[in-house]
Symmetry: C2
DNA sequence: AATAGTATTGATCAAGCGCTTAATAAGGCG
DNA sequence: CGCCTTATTAAGCGCTTGATCAATACTATT
């Protein structure tokens, strides 16, 4: 409507009309806002609107990122990093703790990390766009989390039922789908997500004859 | 490269350089190709590329659809229609058939309908875009399929374990996630999807003390 | 307070977008 | 065959997009 120029609307989100940030700080500020922005509108969201939200001119963005693609890469990096804590494989295989406890601890923690609108949506957007990071993430997840998880289940399963990798993927998928329903399809959040996760885990273990103490 | 004009590249997908189709036929042709096209590149895919794939000028598309939004609506309609057969509620509640058989029949049929790249991706694209059709579809699915399914499970569950709606959503989500992995994240298809579905159903039923004959 | 370095701006470009319209030609009918 | 309807085209308008770059003005330093 009034788009006569690309000048910032006086300031950013808050009231502080600061200018001239140190480059590292400004760069991070741009990425942070880009994460929120792209998660909301998709990766095709335009740089002018992003700049407007930052309270900054559009051209400034291209001072920090040579191309929009480069900005998106930075968004991926920011969002994917730290999403899989490196000590989980170890904790998942600690047989001094009952498997059920380990599973509940893992999925409680993991779901608190990924049941987040920004992560869920950007993961889905990038997956649809065919970003290789997605496939690498899922391969990594499969190898480092689900495969050990399969071995742990096998170790305590009753002899007549042997779990397969697909069973573990199914457990995982059922849990992840809670977040998909909420953040992609915008359905209401379950009353007690942690409880639903516990029930999913219990059903999984129950089938393989693993006893559950209440 | 050679994009000097919007003229068609002589013909469409095949070698037939036919022109002047009857309007109804042309309209359907456009929608069909749009489904494939948007499923591949997303709903922001541009009409010029779509026209190129059709072997037709871009302006022709706007002879059949006033706006791009209208075309997308037609794509939704085409893709959503017939995805939920109306006789399923009835078949799911036919207690002359064992619940396991009913579940397997339903999910075998349903998965063969939705584990399809075009449907999966357009459903996800439209979900991310916030299309109301998505939420209506899921509400419908919840009321017409999952709710009866919950009642059926309750009816045969052992008295100490009572299933909740979230359990049914979890069963459903775990199964749907097979298709998501394959078509959104482009991971390899499981060797025997039908078998994995049957296992998911068996785990679900097993937990509620429902016996399974082999 | 003057200066230098640089973060930021403002104006602009070329390409791509949805969409419009007048001209064209395909093909059924007399 | 020649006409007439209309499906289709060709050209282009107005706007938005990612990206560029010289000019500007903030801030640290002396």
């Amino acid at each position: 409507m009034d788009g006569q120029t690309d000048s910032p609307a006086l300031d950013g989100e808050d009231g502080t009309a600061r200018k001239r940030l140190p480059p590292a700080e400004r760069r991070q500020q741009i990425v942070d806002e880009a994460v929120r922005f792209f998660a909301e509108v998709g990766l095709e969201g335009n740089t002018r609107e992003l700049a407007r939200r930052l309270g900054v001119t559009q051209s400034l963005i291209f001072n920090y990122f040579a191309t929009k693609e480069e900005l998106i890469e930075a968004v991926y990096e920011k969002v994917y990093i730290g999403r899989l804590a490196p000590d989980w494989p170890e904790r998942l295989t600690d047989r001094s703790v009952p498997l059920r406890e380990r599973l509940i601890a893992f999925y409680t923690e993991y779901s608190s990390l990924i049941f987040e609108r920004e992560w869920m949506r950007i993961f889905m957007f990038s997956g649809l766009a065919g970003a290789s990071l997605n496939q690498r993430y899922l391969e990594h997840l499969g190898n480092v989390i689900l495969l050990p998880l399969l071995a742990e289940t096998e170790a305590v399963a009753s002899s007549d039922k042997s779990p397969k990798m697909e069973d573990v993927w199914n457990l995982h998928g059922g849990i992840v789908y809670i977040g998909i329903r909420q953040h992609i399809y915008r359905m209401p959040e379950p009353a007690k997500p942690q409880e639903e996760i516990a029930r999913a885990i219990d059903r999984f273990l129950h089938y393989f004859g693993i006893e559950i103490e209440h």
